[in-house]
Assembly symmetry: C2
Homo-oligomer: 191 residues x 2
């Protein structure tokens, strides 16, 4: 998606050859107009697939998932991190390892909000190793629901998450794929 690539080129802060910081428009300060247009693009890509629910993970996926859901006119469910106090024991849970934070986190979804007849689109801000998306997929599987696709804002094409998911025949679409970060500049792969 040209608009997102341009924003990354003009605004993102290159930390090193692995890390691009986009907290000025995506995951700390949020440009809701941009995310609304990204949501429209997700709808163009996944709209015909009869999505009934959008699933994401707390916290950085919530904004992009909600602005996409407005176009799909379906509810968002976000997996909660850590021990889920208010929901009792009726949850689908799994563990997700974050390479960035070097720690394992439990994520959970109340069973009431994912049903076998749900057609689920997973949306997240970043795809790197794929562990977050695979954790969300495990929760969809535990619910007996159908995963129709995975929509990602920014895929780090130089990490193996995208390959893993595509090898599993998952319908993965990323709005921007960074193939490398060279000399302080981002190089994109055209999907």
């Amino acid at each position: 998606m040209k608009l997102l690539q341009e924003r990354i080129e003009t605004s993102a802060q290159i930390v090193d050859h692995n890390i691009v910081r986009v907290d000025m428009f995506l995951n700390h300060q949020i440009d809701v107009q941009l995310l609304d247009q990204m949501g429209e693009e997700f709808y163009r890509l996944f709209g015909p697939l009869h999505v009934t629910k959008i699933l994401t993970a707390e916290a950085s996926g919530i904004a992009i998932a909600c602005l996409a859901a407005l176009h799909f006119k379906v509810p968002v469910v976000y997996a909660k991190k850590g021990f889920v106090r208010t929901q009792g024991s009726n949850v689908y849970s799994t563990e997700v390892f974050s390479y960035t934070r070097n720690k394992t986190t439990q994520i959970s979804v109340a069973q009431a909000y994912l049903k076998p007849d749900d057609r689920v689109l997973i949306i997240d801000d970043f795809l790197a190793s794929g562990s977050a998306v695979l954790g969300l997929k495990e929760i969809v599987d535990k619910a007996g629901a159908h995963l129709v696709g995975v929509g990602i804002a920014i895929e780090k094409g130089f990490q193996d998450g995208g390959k893993k998911l595509r090898d599993m025949q998952i319908n993965l679409r990323s709005l921007a794929i960074i193939s490398s970060i060279e000399n302080g500049r981002v190089v994109f792969l055209e999907e």
Copy 2:
């Protein structure tokens, strides 16, 4: 707001005389159409005040803040919980005590995203003791920005947060104020 009160009456789960669970439409599963209408109502209440930024706290405030921001056409900034790794030391921080969780959490906002010329509207899902909002207000004050108001989805009128904020002359508006929970039913206060 009639629509929100009706949804609370029809959907919310009364846990006891203190706790109403709304995770079926507000803070686990999210009814984005409802939140969009709540965002429109916040715009009706605060639109004339020249808001330049909406501030909320991770994680449950993000959805309602983003859907409101679409109407205001301004960015959202959400305070991050815990140790903020990617932002270096240039953050405004404070500690917030959660009575529900009985623990103190540090919340932080990168200094780059709140400036002295910002006119800030704080939006959050719940107001109970007021500690989260007061923490966010402290961050606004540290940035030297101007707090134009506080918009809350559901205020627990039987806790003292609302009184504290109103006594401080803060322009607080809550879309639904629960005055009490009696015999498994929610009683609303009309603002």
